[in-house]
């Protein structure tokens, strides 16, 4: 399993052909209390960097971007009724699974990402 991060604060945990995707703990803190998630649709195809879905905090809506390219094969329905799970455990709350066709080479590993958010 490989854990990679985008500069826009999404993570992808890649295991073979499947990547679980979520947002970082830093991102959930910056967004504040999440109150709604508009989950991606199963079957949609995304390229890395495409808008994958959006989340609503009390104050604003934010787009989330696909960290990898591929097809959405599963979404975490549990988040639909309880987006606050992302605030409670961002790294443990996957949003969807993508069947990966491409992993861009500008993603960061955890150490590089932690350094990136400190800057």
């Amino acid at each position: 399993m490989k854990l990679l991060f985008r500069e826009s604060h999404e993570w992808a945990a890649i295991d073979g052909k499947i990547a679980k995707v979520g947002i970082s703990d830093h991102a959930q803190k910056e967004l504040g209390d999440l109150v709604f998630i508009n989950l991606p649709e199963v079957g949609m195809t995304v390229s890395a960097g495409d808008v994958l879905c959006d989340v609503e905090s009390v104050k604003a809506v934010s787009d989330l971007y696909a960290p990898v390219s591929g097809k959405v094969v599963k979404v975490n329905d549990e988040l639909e009724g309880a987006p606050e799970l992302i605030n409670q455990d961002a790294m443990g709350s996957w949003i969807c699974e993508i069947e990966v066709t491409d992993v861009p080479n500008d993603l960061m590993d955890e150490a590089a990402y932690n350094k990136f958010i400190k800057e």
Partner: protein, 357 residues
């Protein structure tokens, strides 16, 4: 150049996340977050810095009549120590601002205005009050703390003499004393909960803020930011200038009839309002599957029939709510909001969305 209130350092020390609002650097939230702060105000007590609000004193023998001619509500015959909500109308029947009028006595009134309109209001008043009435903008000398929630009174009771607690809603004590700090204490607020607003000198504000937080520990007090202030007023369906009210929105379309006294003698905008048959209404809706925020167009089928003026997630209700400005004849029709290209169903609900327990 952004302004800071006297409490800026306190906000930073308490972990406030500072944002720009109406020209001020103010906390949008503290570490607890908007939802927790909101629920704390509904169930316990919260403390807000609202020192950005503007304050004006209007004085003179003719002050009551002069003020009455520039507001929509009737402020004659109030008692000393009474507060009344009003709109400051323009000539077209729109709103320059919405304000609170505090009657100190028949010849002296203390007016509280929105931060974003304070300068505009001062110019407006200068132009529309007669010369024999003096007015002074004192915003930069006054700090305002809002202590809001069902436990606000038991907390304040420990800190002041009983005579310093205003008894009635929308009344105030002019010279209250909170542990040596002189405050005007009013039983008012912008949350839909019971509570108080305390006006004090800037020099006393930091000590007053810390005193209330420390003494409120048994009540579970939290400092609260602008985020919770907005979700609280929205759940309580209170209008916000720039959203539900504005220069181009006739005030008789906003559901504030209690503050518009068409039967009283002439006032600015009266003729325009008499001539204007309301075309729009302010209504509330529950939003299905998403949040519809301000400026989202609202449709009935293919026809745009209004827009969202404010929208958020309602923490106490657990679902998204919105206030809408809708053409009258569509207020009971099936409506949808367009949110970034998606249509969200709106379910019309009664206002306020939330009533205090």
């Amino acid at each position: 150049m952004l302004k800071r209130t006297a409490l800026y350092e306190n906000h930073v020390a308490h972990g406030g996340k500072i944002v720009e609002f109406a020209g001020y650097e103010l906390p949008v939230q503290y570490e607890a977050g908007v939802v927790t702060e909101h629920k704390t105000v509904r169930t316990k007590v919260g403390l807000f810095d609202v020192s950005h609000m503007g304050e004006v004193v209007v004085k003179g023998k003719n002050a009551e009549a002069a003020l009455n001619a520039i507001v929509t509500n009737d402020i004659r015959g109030m008692y000393d120590g009474q507060v009344r909500y009003s709109i400051l109308p323009n000539d077209k029947g729109g709103a320059v601002d919405d304000i609170l009028v505090y009657r100190i006595n028949g010849e002296c009134f203390f007016i509280v205005v929105n931060a974003s309109n304070a300068e505009k209001d001062a110019k407006w008043m200068a132009a529309h009050l007669p010369k024999d009435v003096q007015f002074e903008v004192i915003s930069d000398k006054v700090s305002q703390l809002a202590l809001q929630g069902p436990l606000a009174e038991q907390l304040l009771k420990r800190l002041v003499e009983p005579k310093d607690i205003p008894v009635k809603y929308y009344s105030f004590v002019k010279e209250g004393n909170v542990k040596g700090m002189k405050c005007l204490i009013s039983r008012t607020g912008y949350t839909g909960e019971s509570g108080f607003e305390l006006y004090c000198a800037n020099a006393d504000a930091p000590a007053l803020f810390e005193l209330l937080l420390k003494e409120g520990e048994p009540e579970g007090i939290l400092p609260c930011g602008l985020g919770a202030r907005d979700t609280l007023r929205l759940e309580a369906a209170m209008p916000l200038y720039g959203h539900e009210l504005g220069e181009d929105i006739p005030v008789n379309e906003v559901g504030l009839g209690f503050a518009i006294k068409m039967a009283k003698e002439d006032f600015i905008g009266k003729k325009a309002l008499e001539a204007h048959t309301p075309e729009y209404v302010r209504i509330g809706a529950k939003v299905l599957k998403g949040i519809a925020r301000e400026h989202c167009p609202v449709y009935c089928g293919d026809e745009q029939v209004g827009m969202v003026t404010s929208g958020t997630h309602a923490p106490m209700l657990g679902y998204p709510i919105a206030m809408l400005r809708i053409k009258k004849e569509f207020a009971d029709k099936p409506l949808e909001a367009d949110v970034r290209g998606r249509r969200l169903k709106l379910e019309i609900t009664e206002l306020p969305f939330y009533k205090k327990a």
